[in-house]
């Protein structure tokens, strides 16, 4: 244990601890657990939840009408047969990448600071993947046949077509969802036990009792538990990378100029982490404020996330530059035109807006003052989220609207239904998140205790 302490790469800068001093096991579980067990919802929460709930109902209306009339109610057409639906799908999947990344990769890298954000980052992942998962179904011409994309034995003896990137998507996204869910739940078991034993009302005891599955913290269990958790992290890490790689294949495998690019997998993954961390910030900043968790989600966390954003943002910028370079260097007239059309065509403003949001504005993160300014970080995270949405819009729409034969060129204008569905899923995401922070510990209690213990020892050592 000590041995481990010493070789922990310490990110702790003076004045920026991963956990505010003076915390005990008790105080930790009190502060985190009380949100779920004792505190009342509060007017503010009720209000936010109501808004989100309304948005979800808007989503329902939009979806019902969609199923009744068909995808023709959206702005899509020939040549632009994919519109908002796919843009949103890629966007949500991207957001869904931060959670598992934080939990898995940072765990493997033994980054202590992950502890206080991984739980709700994982929850965010789950909800984002749920949102993403809706779109491939909704955008089908015949959504009631979506199950045909799964390889199940049927009387007709027909099977899906495994050469299609869309089928790879089916496997990647469903695997990602299942693994993330397990990862999240396994992390939850010991905390459920804690809440089971602290809860006063019997029904809460029962609910958490069931969730805890009779967990009693046996040393043997902990041993297997930690091994399983570690391996899961090891598996989830390549999975995270693979998921957005596969999503990028949807485009890279096609022959369409603007899609058919080898740079896509790495730059999609970077983009995903980029947007993911932006979304974690968007959520973490209000939560730590409303629920007074500043002790657990300290400036250090925000700073580190800002740094990750800066880094991945630069990778994304590199991607944009290479895209432009390829189109010039390939000397391919279609590629060349595609780039010209992106920059100067009818959708040019979208391109420049995304450059602004994803590359120019985030450069301010080089400054320590910006990185340590909560408001600035919050606004920046929103900007990046918007930028990443625009990126997907540019890739999907501007590439499609002017391809090989000028005779088939067209324009895409979203309808109100497109917009309702998009904001509907945003509402769904928010609603799920509000429920989560109320019903489950938003921060991993047992891992915080571990942290308390470590910090205590760090102090002891200093003391002697």
């Amino acid at each position: 244990m000590r041995a481990e302490d010493t070789n922990t790469p310490t990110l702790v800068e003076p004045g920026a601890p991963v956990l505010a001093p003076g915390h005990t096991y008790q105080s930790v579980q009190e502060d985190i657990g009380s949100i779920v067990l004792t505190q009342s919802a509060g007017r503010r929460w009720m209000l936010c939840f109501a808004v989100a709930f309304l948005a979800v109902n808007m989503l329902l209306v939009a979806v019902i009408y969609l199923f009744v009339r068909g995808v023709g109610i959206w702005g899509i057409n020939i040549p632009i047969a994919w519109g908002f639906a796919i843009v949103n799908f890629v966007w949500w999947i991207g957001i869904g990448h931060a959670g598992t990344l934080i939990s898995a990769i940072l765990l493997l890298l033994k980054q202590d600071w992950r502890t206080s954000i991984n739980r709700f980052a994982e929850a965010m992942t789950l909800f984002a993947v749920m949102c993403a998962g809706m779109f491939p179904v909704l955008h089908l011409g015949r959504p009631w046949l979506a199950y045909w994309l799964f390889p199940y034995p049927n009387t007709m003896g027909i099977w899906p077509q495994p050469r299609s990137p869309l089928l790879w998507d089916v496997f990647a996204v469903s695997t990602y969802f299942i693994v993330s869910l397990m990862f999240w739940y396994v992390g939850l078991i010991p905390d459920a036990a804690t809440l089971r034993d602290r809860a006063v009302e019997p029904w809460k005891q029962h609910v958490f009792g069931v969730l805890a599955m009779g967990w009693r913290g046996s040393a043997k269990h902990w041993a297997r538990y930690e091994m399983a958790y570690l391996l899961l992290a090891g598996l989830a890490t390549p999975l995270v990378v693979s998921v957005h790689t596969v999503v990028s294949f949807d485009f890279a495998v096609a022959i369409l100029p603007g899609w058919h690019t080898t740079i896509f997998p790495p730059y999609f993954v970077a983009g995903a982490i980029y947007s993911g961390f932006a979304m974690v910030l968007t959520l973490a900043i209000p939560i730590r404020k409303f629920y007074h968790l500043e002790d657990f989600i300290t400036m250090k966390h925000l700073q580190n996330m800002a740094k990750v954003m800066l880094g991945t943002g630069l990778i994304v910028a590199y991607g944009y530059i290479l895209e432009a370079f390829f189109s010039f260097y390939s000397a391919n007239q279609y590629e060349g035109f595609m780039m010209k059309n992106r920059v100067t065509g009818p959708y040019g403003p979208a391109y420049w807006a995304l450059i602004l949001c994803n590359i120019l504005i985030p450069q301010s993160l080089w400054s320590y003052r910006v990185r340590t300014n909560v408001t600035a970080l919050f606004i920046l995270s929103l900007v990046v989220n918007m930028g990443m949405w625009l990126e997907r819009f540019v890739i999907v729409v501007t590439s499609l609207h002017r391809d090989f034969l000028p005779s088939s060129w067209g324009m895409y204008y979203p309808t109100k239904w497109d917009i309702m569905v998009f904001f509907g899923t945003v509402g769904f995401f928010a609603m799920m998140f509000f429920l989560f922070v109320r019903l489950l510990p938003a921060i991993s209690i047992f891992e915080m205790k571990d942290l308390v213990h470590k910090v205590a020892h760090a102090h002891d050592k200093k003391g002697h």
């Binding site: 009339r69 040549p79 096609a254 000028p406």
Partner: protein, 975 residues
């Protein structure tokens, strides 16, 4: 039929009628229906609120109820019957109908009086598709878009469905009773108050009937008015012409015999069949036509300028006194070219040109010795060639003078099409009894007492003559769906045998022509072949040249010139309710669903108007508000507008489509003249356009060269951009040992007439989506004709490229389908499995040709009962949410294969003809087995001109194109 009772006609009429309408039941249902509320509603305004898109289920429910009523009323209860009389299939075997096996019958479609011979495909008594009759001189197996779309016209639910008096349901017996009274009255005054108004009549039988009536009622008069009146007294032989000068004559698309002319013209232009020489075409026209797009030299001229050109050209050729001043270099060049081809050239003047130009054209042909060789004068094909506007004018005069008691309008829609200044509709008010026999309850029917539904030509016994006079006897493919009556039957209501059927009438006429015992043989042969032998109009020696009127004063620069034309597809407006034609992109502009005011870019800038601006036009008191469309190739200071749209009472499809250009028509200048006023209104109007970009962006999509360049370098196509060798593909070649289907399209002879597009639509049950959806780029036609411009922006060179599924061997679409809904067949067809498709639309995204079409909504009309009969039973009707595209007419392939397998033999070349190929007038489309080296398609693919579009993508398309070669005059100076 029964012996004729001369005594008390009135009585036996009723009696016969009762028998022929088959029993009381009919009457009972009729009475009941007549009294129901919805029926009244139905008569008041047909199909309330049904959207033209046929895309509006709730309303359609309403409509369905009403229509069920109307069907019952028409006494056929929505089921179709073969005609009772004997009709003769084109192919004798099989004698009896085999379910699932289509039969073909020869008949003809008259448009503007002139017939095109057709073979109509019939499934169990339902005509579903028309093809050209190879034996017919005006078709030679080809058809035009209008003929292809006529099937939809037959099943159109908006057709007049029951005889009506004052727009209220009546019965034919009542009508006959009335006519009987008319007959008695008019007998007393020798028919002085009787007028018959028809369209151009070429039908010998109808002419004979009218003749008989006029002998019975000497004072009665027969007037004709056809909005687009061709006087067929000259025919051309383009297969003998090396130089053609068209003075605003759209002979490849817009006149009787166009199909034949196009074929002949193309035969002189195809380089694919080892031919090395080409004809040369000069076209002078104000507004781009398909003939203009085919021209080697297109002169962009206002109509008045064309007259000047004609005069100076004639002067230069010594066929008339030349105007003052020296002929321009262009005239010089044309004249030289013509002189070098004496006897092998044609000068042809267009319908819209004044008599002077026609006279000059005749003079020039005379001077060039073309008469009798490439141009022959024939005895007029019309039964009674008259100046029809004059004829209508006198009629209106008499009507206003109250001299007309009874006006029988047989066909046509004069209230809509008559020149505005005649005020035909007000004159109508002065007539005591007005009778209208028409397919639709239209603008004219509204102003008539009686509306007698007309039988569609596919429901009719009749006869009609082709552009060269050849007669075809029309045989019905089906009993009248809505109990329609032919003009023949309406006419006999004036005689003492009002119960005669058109079958009897037509037969009895031909019995007078063909006396003798072998009449049955003659009759059956005529029906079978679709032509009556040796009925072509005899050639007449060229009479004296008509005097050329003196040149009028040229309009001063800047005056806008009005140029009215028949719509290329809606003709004079009679096809305005045909969704296929409304949604068919106009060849010159790719606009659908509306007619617009074409204007040149320069003039648009001068007047400060742009696309989709609403403008007010005023010409001789006629006023019209219509949208502007800037059209490359349009003459400056010239506004071109098509007739035919803007129907007030034309059915639910025609409703709200376009603007009524007849409001600008003046009786003395039916095709327009200088002096139209244009005022900008500031309003905007959305136009549904299927193609927005007409530049090739420097991409080698349509490859082209001049004849000279081609002779220098036969392989210029390969040199332009070499195709990726198949060896460079990562993937092994799939073996195609059996058949290997492929197609070639010769861009050298494709005129862009779009017959193939409608043929495909009819063959493959392709849905009409309506204007709103076309605006959203969701049109469904599997085959589209891309149009590209090159060169001079004001008068560009035009390239037509039919674009359909290329059936790539390395199909990008198939690879990305997650459910294997589109896969390759063993014969290399790129197949679409509708019932497997879940609608991800990924295939369309990955299709470099964007030829896939998606049912974004429920586009197929699943509710309108009358349309069920129209559909091709061999092709699935697609539902919402599935992708569709060209299949190379796989149903035709399989039918032929089954036949060949029964006979245990390989298919031979030409046995399978795709719908588009069959329709093509110039035979530009060739389909067949590439493995069979002797097949035409295999040979064409060996041609140096052969190339695959976007070949560098190495998708290895099975559809390839032959590069376009033009034949410009070497000593032509660009001005």
């Amino acid at each position: 039929m029964k012996p004729k009772h001369s005594d008390t006609p009135h009585l036996h009429v009723l009696q016969n009628r009762l028998e022929s309408v088959g029993g009381r039941e009919y009457w009972r249902s009729l009475e009941e229906l007549a009294d129901t509320e919805e029926f009244r509603a139905f008569v008041e305004d047909e199909f309330p609120g049904r959207s033209p898109e046929w895309l509006n289920p709730p309303n359609r429910r309403e409509v369905l109820r009403l229509m069920a009523a109307s069907f019952g009323l028409a006494g056929l209860a929505a089921c179709t019957k073969m005609p009772i009389q004997k009709i003769i299939p084109y192919v004798r075997q099989p004698e009896e109908v085999i379910p699932g096996k289509a039969m073909f019958y020869a008949t003809a479609m008259p448009v503007g009086g002139y017939a095109t011979g057709l073979l109509v495909e019939s499934h169990l008594g339902r005509p579903t598709k028309v093809e050209g009759n190879p034996d017919h001189p005006a078709s030679l197996g080809a058809t035009d878009a209008i003929a292809q779309a006529s099937v939809l016209g037959l099943y159109d639910p908006d057709r007049a469905q029951a005889i009506s008096l004052y727009a209220r349901l009546s019965a034919y017996v009542n009508f006959l009773a009335v006519m009987n009274r008319v007959r008695e009255q008019q007998h007393q005054k020798k028919g002085a108050g009787l007028r018959i108004l028809t369209e151009t009549v070429t039908s010998p039988t109808l002419a004979w009937q009218i003749g008989n009536i006029l002998t019975e009622f000497p004072e009665a008069k027969w007037d004709q008015y056809e909005a687009v009146h061709y006087s067929g007294s000259e025919i051309y032989h383009f297969d003998k012409a090396d130089v053609v000068v068209s003075l605003d004559a759209d002979f490849l698309g817009g006149m009787p015999g166009s199909l034949r002319y196009a074929r002949d013209f193309a035969s002189k232009r195809k380089l694919s069949e080892g031919q090395t020489s080409m004809n040369r075409l000069y076209v002078a026209e104000p507004s781009p036509s398909i003939t203009g797009s085919t021209a080697d030299h297109r002169l962009r001229m206002r109509p008045t300028e064309i007259e000047t050109l004609a005069r100076s050209l004639a002067g230069r050729l010594g066929a008339g006194q030349a105007p003052a001043g020296t002929a321009s270099a262009q005239v010089e060049a044309i004249a030289k070219d013509l002189e070098n081809h004496r006897g092998s050239s044609v000068v042809i003047a267009g319908l819209q040109q004044p008599p002077a130009v026609h006279a000059l054209a005749r003079a020039m042909n005379q001077a060039l010795g073309n008469v009798g060789v490439t141009v022959t004068g024939i005895q007029p094909v019309e039964a009674k060639p008259v100046d029809q506007i004059q004829s209508l004018w006198t009629l209106v005069k008499e009507m206003n003078a109250g001299q007309v008691d009874v006006l029988m309008i047989l066909g046509g829609n004069p209230v809509f099409t008559a020149p505005a200044d005649l005020n035909f509709s007000t004159a109508m008010g002065k007539v005591n009894l007005r009778i209208h026999n028409s397919l639709y309850f239209d603008e004219t029917s509204e102003l008539c007492h009686w509306q007698v539904p007309e039988a569609h030509y596919l429901e009719s016994w009749s006869d009609a003559r082709a552009f060269d006079g050849t007669v075809t006897i029309l045989q019905p493919l089906i009993e009248p769906l809505y109990g329609g009556k032919t003009p023949h039957e309406v006419l006999v209501s004036l005689t003492d045998q009002p119960d005669q059927t058109s079958h009897e009438i037509v037969r009895s006429y031909w019995q007078t022509k063909h006396t003798g015992a072998d009449f049955e043989i003659f009759w059956e042969k005529a029906l079978h072949d679709g032509i009556v032998p040796n009925t072509a109009s005899p050639v007449v020696a060229a009479g004296p040249l008509p005097a050329v009127p003196a040149a009028g004063r040229a309009p001063d620069a800047g005056t806008l010139e009005l140029n009215l034309r028949p719509d290329p597809y809606l003709f004079d407006g009679r096809f305005a309710n045909n969704g296929w034609l409304q949604e068919l992109p106009k060849p010159e502009s790719k606009l659908t669903w509306d007619n617009v005011v074409y204007i040149s870019a320069a003039t648009a800038v001068r007047l400060g108007v742009e696309n989709e601006d609403m403008v007010d036009l005023e010409y001789r008191g006629g006023k019209l508000r219509a949208p502007i469309w800037v059209l490359p190739g349009q003459a400056d200071d010239c506004l071109t507008m098509y007739f035919g749209n803007g129907r007030r009472r034309g059915g639910n499809v025609a409703k709200d489509a376009g603007f009524n250009a007849y409001l600008l028509r003046a009786s003395d200048q039916p095709w327009g003249a200088p002096g139209v006023q244009l005022r900008k209104t500031g309003n905007r109007y959305t136009i549904a356009n299927t193609q927005h970009h007409h530049s090739m962006e420097g991409r080698g999509i349509v490859k082209s060269a001049t004849l000279a360049e081609y002779e220098k370098d036969r392989d210029f196509v390969k040199h332009e951009d070499p195709e990726t060798p198949k060896s460079q593909s990562l993937y092994p070649e799939y073996p195609y040992n059996g058949y290997k289907w492929g197609m070639t399209i010769d861009q050298n002879v494709c005129t862009g007439c779009s017959a193939c597009v409608v043929a495909c639509q009819a063959e493959n049950n392709i849905a009409v989506v309506g204007k709103e959806q076309v605006v959203k780029h969701r049109e469904m036609q599997w085959l589209r004709i891309d149009r590209y411009h090159k060169g001079d922006a004001a008068n560009p060179e035009v390239f037509n490229q039919p674009m359909l599924c290329q059936h790539c061997e390395k199909a990008p679409c198939e690879l990305v389908c997650p459910v294997a809904a589109t896969v390759h067949s063993g014969e290399g067809l790129n197949q679409m499995v509708y019932n497997r498709c879940v609608g991800t639309r990924y295939c369309s995204n990955n299709c470099p040709y964007k030829v896939r079409r998606f049912n974004f909504l429920l586009y197929s009309d699943w509710y309108t009962e009358s349309l069920y009969g129209m559909r091709n039973p061999d092709v699935t009707v697609r539902s919402r949410g599935v992708m569709e595209k060209c299949t190379y007419c796989v149903q035709r392939i399989n039918e032929a294969k089954i036949d060949s397998e029964k006979e245990d033999r390989r298919l031979h070349d030409g046995e399978i003809v795709t719908a588009c190929q069959a329709a093509c007038p110039t035979r530009a489309i060739v389909f067949g087995d590439i493995n069979d080296t002797t097949s035409q398609v295999a040979k064409l693919k060996q041609q140096p001109l052969n190339y695959g579009v976007l070949g560098d993508l190495n998708t290895q398309p099975r559809t390839t194109y032959l590069a376009r070669v033009t034949n410009p005059n070497p000593d032509w100076v660009k001005t």
